[in-house]
Symmetry: C2
Subunit: 357 residues, 2 copies
Amino acid sequence: MHDDLGFRRRIDAYLHRLVDEEEAELLRLSSELAPLCVQLRNSLTRGKRMRAAFLYWGWRAAGQPDCDGVIRAAAAMELVHAAACTHDDIIDDSRLRHGAPTAHAAFAGDGAGGWGSGSAEPHDARQERSAALAMMLGDLLMGYAAQVFATCGLPGAYVARTVPLWSTLLRETIAGEFLEVLRTGSTAPEVAESLEVARYKTAKYTVERPLHMGATLGGAPRHVLAAFTAYGLPLGEAFQLRDDLLGTFGDPAETGKSTLDDLRDRKPTTLLAMTLSLLAPDDRLLLEKTLGNPALDESDAALARRLMDDCGARRRIEDMIAERVSAARGALNSTALPMEVRTALGSMATSVADRAL
Amino acid sequence: MHDDLGFRRRIDAYLHRLVDEEEAELLRLSSELAPLCVQLRNSLTRGKRMRAAFLYWGWRAAGQPDCDGVIRAAAAMELVHAAACTHDDIIDDSRLRHGAPTAHAAFAGDGAGGWGSGSAEPHDARQERSAALAMMLGDLLMGYAAQVFATCGLPGAYVARTVPLWSTLLRETIAGEFLEVLRTGSTAPEVAESLEVARYKTAKYTVERPLHMGATLGGAPRHVLAAFTAYGLPLGEAFQLRDDLLGTFGDPAETGKSTLDDLRDRKPTTLLAMTLSLLAPDDRLLLEKTLGNPALDESDAALARRLMDDCGARRRIEDMIAERVSAARGALNSTALPMEVRTALGSMATSVADRAL
């Protein structure tokens, strides 16, 4: 069903309608808000809708029927995600996502016809201003998310019992991000610490909590929630580990992202932690000298990739992904779930962790 | 009632309890989140609770009784405000609020025992990281706001009919901020444009919409909403104009803020727009050369203040404040309101626009 275009098309259709309405409201306030509208649209009209799909299948696992209300509740997850990505991209200064300039990059004039292109403003001032504008776009998206969820149209009692989970999801995600920023660039990352960050900022946020939210909306029993934890945490970790690999070894033409950002920022990924733990002292020094340099280029990246490959770290991360996907699949068999839920989540386990983008 | 300590004490007590609970949740995730908890507490345990008071009096204007539910709904306004201030202070690089370091300043090590103090990290990297950490604190606060509002305990139907206004409030505020950032540092600000920004980012956000939210929660008739617009917009503009004056002419010991920030950022305030429209060409050039300089010091500020004073701009702004407060007071008499609501809003009109801080 996640691969079934019908689901994605319904989420996309809802988000497109929302963007149309919000654009009209914003332009009614001032025509100068047009650049905000453009980025609002960009941020909501792309993506795989994974978090929406997990919420949907959580709902279906509770024995609830397909309906418009759950599509809107699921779309709220995508609004949260668009907000998180917008703020994340500022923090990481990622300038490309889904092959297009990110919001702060577009506000600064990256890409054709960007708002700031051709401006005579000094470079630093423009970057700061663009980051400020993108921060506000993220705030706006987060506001829409809460409203869409609150007014999704499912019975009030269903929504009310799920609100605390919404807070939990935000708290865990922000905690994960906070820990990552706190640790970025500092002492050598540890594998266990990097997995802790992945658990909060990715595994819970992307898989476990959306499933829990759908299941709680639908009134699923405790054992279903427990099965979703057993499925979601390893799968979400696998997703982050795959993301780490793609962030350094991926093909930008396929992933739509730069493969230099993580290295430039010396992001404390599990891939980096594993590499540092495996490298001989000389190579470790060589890698440390290469990373965290804002001017890091393709040849520096090639060196880093070679070191990660040769020491066996890349292979170990692939093994960790395989183990986790297998654990996630096993968890699906640990409890009674409707057959189509089991099938959908089984197929998502494969696509989430083995994806090329 | 706003001056009656009872109301502020109840809002403060609720927010303190919330901080205690959230701190426990965050520390349960990781003890490394302690600096986040410290700033969460700082951001929520100060302030005049004006927005909460306006929501409260909107509710009472609908003939509804004092109760715990409205206190929680009012506290949600303060959570939104704490989030907005946290993000605003990053954008403006304001390092002091209520006499204490702002969140990003504290994360960078401003003030005693700041998290980043004594760090060997390069200055720029530390500032960027601190801004990222503060951005996440703001996101967390915004998440709490939506949850507190959704679960305030007032009847579900009351909350449901008010959710669209919540979105409106966010949209208008963010639009105002966006326009301000878009225009900061660019061509000469116009008085009309600066008042447009003030209307969205302050008048609607601080006065009109909180009153509307309380009134809508309580089910007030349309004429009460209209009276609140007629009261709220001029009063909110007066509030922003007072804020602009205090931002340049205030006593930092009383306002708890720097009086250099607005000038340094060349913030397009009505005070600046009015000054530029009144100055003779030579003085105008002199002022333009002084503003927008990151190294602007106290003697530059003294020059700017003298120019603003001598050309009559400061006086004109004081007149605009007085006119607006008078219009706001007049609006209170234009419709039937319970006596204690009229008294409370009348006294708030004075304190909001004539405040020293």
